[in-house]
C-alpha cells in the first residue's frame, strides 16, 4: 500500500519535474506558519479567511496563465475584469425592478452574467486580433489595452464606485452549497475545465506548441493566428468570470478594483511552473502556488507583519522564483550538453 503510493509519487515526480517541489514547499509553509502562530493559523476562522480571496485570484491567474503558455502575457486582465464588472453592475442596477419575483431575479442575473461574458469576449477579441493577426507583441498590445480598458471604465463611471448590487446577486459571493462557498465552486469547476482543455483538447495542445515554436506549429497545419485569437478571448472570459465573483464579493465595481493583483497573478503562474518563455504550464501547479502564496501572506498577517512589508516579501519571492527557474534551466541545459557529448561518443 505504502510502497504503491511511493511508486506512484515517483512516477508523478518524474513526469512533473517543473512542479514536483511545490507539494513539499506547501507542506513546509503550512508547517512553519502553524508553529509560528501557535496554531492560530489552522483555526477554522483563519482558514475561511485564507480561502476567501482565492477564487478571484485563481481565476485571474488562470487568465494570465493561458497567454503565458503561448509565450505571451495579458496585462489587461484586471482592467478588462473591471470594465466587465462595471457594465454588469450598471445593468443590474438599471434593470432590476424593486421587489421582483424569483423568476425575474434569476433571468436578470443570468442576463447580467451573459452580458458580462459578451463584453469579455469583445475585449478579448481586440487583444487576440492585435496579437494574432497584426502580430503586435503581447506585452505591448495588452499594456495598451490595459490602459484603454481602464480609461473606458473611468469614462463610464467618472471615477465613482458603483455599489449596492441586488441582494440575490450577492449570493454568488457568500452563499454555500454543501458547505462550499459558491465562488469557490465556480473556481474549482473552471480550473478543472481548463486543466481538461490544456491536456485533452487539440486546442490545448496547440497552445503549448505555439508557445514553444510557432513556425513549426504553422508548418504542421495549425492555424496559429486563430489559436492566439482564441487564447486572448479565453483569457478575457476567465477575467470576466473573475469579475462576476468580485462584483458579488465586494458588492461594488470601479475602474481600479484589485489592480495590485496583476503582480500576484504573474508570481503565481511562475511559481506554479508556467514557463514565461512559453510551452509549459500546469493548472495543478498554479493552484498549489496560489495556496502557498496565500498561506504566506495570511500567516505573516497573523504574525503582525504590516501589509506594506508583505508587498516587499511578494516582490522578493517573485525575484527568487525567477532566479531559481533560470538556475534550473541552466542546470538542465548543461545536463543536455553532457548527454549530447556522451551520445556523440557512441
Amino acid at each position: 500500500m505504502f510502497a504503491e503510493f511511493v511508486k506512484r509519487y515517483q512516477s508523478w515526480h518524474d513526469r512533473n519535474q517543473d512542479i514536483a517541489a511545490l507539494p513539499w514547499l506547501l507542506f513546509v509553509v503550512l508547517a512553519i506558519m502553524t508553529v509560528a502562530t501557535g496554531g492560530r493559523f489552522l483555526r477554522a476562522h483563519n482558514i475561511t479567511n485564507l480561502l476567501a480571496q482565492m477564487p478571484e485570484l485563481g481565476l485571474l491567474s488562470l487568465a494570465m496563465m493561458v497567454p503565458m503558455v503561448t509565450a505571451g502575457i495579458n496585462l489587461s486582465i484586471i482592467s478588462s475584469a473591471n470594465l466587465t464588472a462595471v457594465i454588469m453592475a450598471l445593468f443590474l442596477k438599471g434593470v432590476f425592478p424593486q421587489g421582483a419575483g424569483g423568476g425575474t431575479t434569476i433571468i436578470i442575473i443570468v442576463g447580467a452574467i451573459a452580458l458580462g461574458m459578451i463584453v469579455s469576449i469583445v475585449l478579448g477579441l481586440l487583444n487576440g486580433f492585435l496579437v494574432g493577426y497584426v502580430e503586435v507583441p503581447a506585452v505591448l498590445t495588452t499594456l495598451g489595452t490595459m490602459i484603454l480598458y481602464e480609461g473606458i471604465t473611468l469614462a463610464i463611471t467618472r471615477g465613482f464606485v458603483i455599489s449596492s448590487m441586488p441582494e440575490a446577486y450577492l449570493l454568488i459571493g457568500n452563499a454555500r452549497i454543501l458547505g462550499l462557498p459558491i465562488h469557490m465552486i465556480i473556481f474549482l469547476v473552471v480550473a478543472l475545465v481548463m486543466a481538461i482543455i490544456f491536456h485533452r483538447r487539440p486546442y490545448g495542445r496547440h497552445l503549448f506548441f505555439v508557445g514553444s515554436n510557432p513556425t513549426a506549429t504553422a508548418y504542421s497545419g495549425v492555424n496559429v493566428r486563430r489559436v492566439l485569437l482564441k487564447t486572448y478571448v479565453i483569457s478575457s472570459v476567465l477575467a470576466g468570470i473573475a469579475a462576476v465573483v468580485m462584483l458579488a464579493r465586494f458588492n461594488s465595481a470601479n475602474a481600479r478594483q484589485g489592480s495590485s493583483l496583476l503582480l500576484s497573478t504573474v508570481l503565481i503562474c511562475m511559481l506554479g511552473g508556467t514557463d514565461p518563455f512559453g510551452g509549459f504550464g500546469k493548472v495543478l501547479g498554479l493552484v498549489m502556488a496560489m495556496v502557498i502564496l496565500q498561506a504566506v501572506t495570511n500567516g505573516l498577517n497573523l504574525l503582525g507583519v504590516r501589509s506594506f512589508a508583505t508587498v516587499a516579501i511578494w516582490g522578493a519571492m517573485l525575484v527568487g522564483v525567477i532566479a531559481y527557474r533560470y538556475y534550473q534551466h541552466q542546470k538542465w541545459e548543461r545536463k543536455r550538453k553532457q548527454l549530447q557529448r556522451a551520445r556523440m561518443q557512441q
Binding site: 513526469r15 491536456h199 487539440p202 495542445r205 503549448f208 506548441f209 513549426a216 495549425v222 510551452g279
Partner: protein, 513 residues
C-alpha cells in the same frame, strides 16, 4: 622578435619550419568522452586544408585547440609557425595570426559594415571622439583586399548571410593574419555565394594566408582543398590529396563502413498518376511548372538554392498560393489555400529546416509525432485519447526504428537523424498520398542518411504514395529517384533519368554541386 618575447617558447628544429601548424600527440578528454585521442595534425603555410569527419569525430575540438579556446591534455606538442608553444590561450592564437569564423557569425547586426569590420579601432581612438576617417579607411582597405564591394554604412542585419560572412572575413584579416579557420562556412550559402567565398579563399592564399576549411559537403571539399585530413572517433585516419579520393572512398574513411545505395525499384506499369501540376506560376518564385508523379514513383527536383524549388513545394502544400495554373490529385483538380487544406487533400511536406520548421524542439516526441493528427485521436466526450496517440506514436517509432529514451523525452534530446525520422513520422501519420521531402537529409550523418533513403524507397515500393524529393545534393536525387527535374531561376530546365551519364549531365551541363 615577438615570438621570442613570449614565455614558454623555444625555437624548434628546422624540418618543421614549413608547417604553419604542427601538432603532435594532441588529446582532449571530457567526462566519459575521448574527443581527441593522440592525434597528430599538421598543414603548411598558405595551404588550403580541409578537415572532415562525422559529428563527434573531434573536428571542432581540434579547431578549438588551435584557436586556444580550450587546452589539450598535457603531453601535446604544439608548434605554430616554427615556434613551440606550451600553453596557448585565445589571445596567443590571435597574436600568432589565427582567426576563426564560426558557423553562427559573431557580428553586430545593429551596426554598420564599416563598424563591424574596423570596430577594434574604437579602442585606438585617442581623445573623446571616434575617428571615423580611420575606421572608414581601415574598412575600405580590408574590403579591397578580398575584393568585397558593399555600402560601408549599411546595417549588417540588412545583408545576406553570405555577405555577412564576407564582412566577418574582411574584419578578421585586419592585422597580421596567417591562418583563417572556417567552420562549416557554406551551410547556408547558395552556389553562386559559395563560388564567391572560394574565390576569396584563393585570394587569401595568394597573400600567403592558410585556410583550414571544415565542411561535410564532400563535393566542396574536392573543389577547394589542396589536402584533406580525415578524423574519425577522435583519431586521425589520414591525410589525402583530393585526387586520391572520391565520394565513396571519403565516406568510407569518415565512417569506417561502406554504404551501398541501391536504386529504387521500377514503378509498376499502370500505376495511376497521383499528382499532376499544370502551368503553375507565381511571380518572382517560379514560372510555368508542369509535371506529374505516379503512385510508387519518386520524383527528384534539384537545383541551386533560389531556384524556386522550395517555393514550388510550399505552393503544393498550400503555404504559398500559386498565381496561375492548376494542381490535380488523382485526376481531380484541387485548390489548397492553407496547409491544413493540403493535409486534408493528402499532401504532406517535410520542410527543409528541421530545427525551426519541422519540430517543436522542447516538446515531447509524442507531441511532435501526433501534432498533425490530433483531430484523429479524439475519443469519448470529444477529448484526446492519450492511449491511442501513444500506441500510434510507438507504431511509427518502430517502423522507422527511432532510437529514443522515452515518448515523453523532449525531441531535442535526439540525434539529428532520429529527429528527422520524427518529422517523417509526423507526416506519414497523416496517411498522405503525396509526400514532399525538402532536403530530408541535410545535416545528418551518413548512416542516418542511408537509413532515411532506404525507408523512402521502401515507402515508394508499397505503390500507394507519390514522393517528391527535393535536394541540392546531386547524388541524393541520382541514387533515390526515378526521374529528376532540374530547376533554375524558377523554371524547369530539363528532366534527367538516373543512369550512366546522368551524373555528368547534372554536374557539367547544369553546373550543380
Amino acid at each position: 622578435m615577438r615570438e621570442e618575447r613570449s614565455m614558454g617558447e623555444s625555437r624548434v628544429h628546422r624540418s618543421v619550419m614549413d608547417s604553419f601548424i604542427d601538432f603532435r600527440n594532441v588529446s582532449k578528454f571530457y567526462p566519459g568522452v575521448r574527443a581527441l585521442n593522440n592525434v597528430d595534425f599538421a598543414f603548411e603555410k598558405g595551404e588550403i586544408h580541409c578537415l572532415v569527419g562525422e559529428n563527434g569525430s573531434g573536428k571542432s575540438t581540434m579547431i578549438k585547440i588551435i584557436s586556444g579556446v580550450i587546452q589539450p591534455e598535457p603531453g601535446a606538442t604544439m608548434v605554430i609557425n616554427g615556434t613551440r608553444i606550451t600553453a596557448m590561450h585565445a589571445k596567443d592564437a590571435i597574436d600568432r595570426g589565427v582567426r576563426v569564423i564560426y558557423q553562427d557569425l559573431s557580428l553586430f547586426p545593429n551596426l554598420t559594415v564599416k563598424e563591424n569590420i574596423a570596430f577594434g579601432l574604437y579602442g585606438d581612438t585617442r581623445g573623446p571622439f571616434v575617428n571615423w576617417k580611420a575606421v572608414e579607411d581601415r574598412a575600405v582597405s580590408a574590403m579591397r583586399s578580398i575584393a568585397l564591394e558593399l555600402d560601408l554604412d549599411r546595417l549588417v542585419s540588412s545583408l545576406s548571410i553570405a555577405q555577412q560572412q564576407l564582412v566577418e572575413i574582411a574584419g578578421s584579416i585586419i592585422g597580421d593574419i596567417k591562418l583563417l579557420i572556417l567552420d562549416e562556412p557554406t551551410a547556408s550559402l547558395t552556389r553562386v555565394e559559395v563560388d564567391r567565398l572560394f574565390a576569396t579563399i584563393r585570394t587569401l592564399k595568394e597573400r600567403g594566408i592558410a585556410t583550414l576549411f571544415v565542411s561535410h559537403k564532400l563535393n566542396e571539399i574536392f573543389e577547394i582543398a589542396e589536402r584533406v585530413t580525415v578524423f574519425r572517433d577522435g583519431a586521425k585516419i589520414g591525410v589525402f590529396e583530393p585526387k586520391e579520393l572520391d565520394q565513396k572512398k571519403l565516406v568510407f574513411l569518415m565512417t569506417g563502413q561502406e554504404v551501398v545505395s541501391e536504386p529504387p525499384k521500377p514503378v509498376r506499369s499502370g500505376a495511376p498518376e497521383l499528382l499532376r501540376v499544370e502551368k503553375l506560376s507565381r511571380g518572382g518564385n517560379y514560372k510555368d511548372i508542369s509535371f506529374s508523379v505516379r503512385a510508387g514513383e519518386i520524383l527528384g527536383i534539384t537545383g541551386r538554392l533560389g531556384s524556386g524549388r522550395t517555393e514550388l513545394a510550399l505552393s503544393l502544400f498550400g503555404m504559398n498560393p500559386p498565381e496561375s495554373g492548376s494542381i490535380f490529385i488523382s485526376g481531380k483538380r484541387v485548390r489548397v489555400h492553407s496547409n491544413a487544406a493540403a493535409t486534408r487533400a493528402g499532401i504532406a511536406y517535410v520542410p527543409e529546416n528541421r530545427l525551426t520548421q519541422g519540430l517543436i524542439m522542447p516538446q515531447s516526441i509524442l507531441a511532435n509525432i501526433t501534432i498533425t493528427i490530433l483531430e484523429k485521436v479524439i475519443g469519448a466526450f470529444r477529448l484526446l485519447d492519450h492511449s491511442r496517440s501513444e500506441s500510434l506514436s510507438r507504431e511509427w517509432i518502430e517502423r522507422l526504428s527511432i532510437k529514443m529514451p522515452s515518448l515523453d523525452a523532449a525531441v531535442q534530446t535526439l540525434s539529428g537523424g532520429n529527429q528527422q525520422k520524427v518529422v517523417l513520422s509526423k507526416w506519414l501519420a497523416t496517411n498522405p498520398r503525396i509526400l514532399i521531402l525538402d532536403e530530408p537529409t541535410v545535416g545528418i550523418d551518413v548512416f542516418a542518411k542511408d537509413s532515411v533513403h532506404r525507408f523512402v524507397k521502401q515507402l515508394a515500393e508499397r505503390g500507394d504514395i507519390a514522393i517528391v524529393l527535393i535536394s541540392d545534393e546531386v547524388h541524393e536525387v541520382l541514387d533515390n529517384c526515378h526521374r529528376i527535374l532540374v530547376m533554375d531561376r524558377g523554371r524547369v530546365l530539363d528532366e534527367v533519368l538516373p543512369g550512366s551519364d546522368a551524373e555528368a549531365t547534372l554536374l557539367e551541363k547544369f553546373n550543380l554541386a
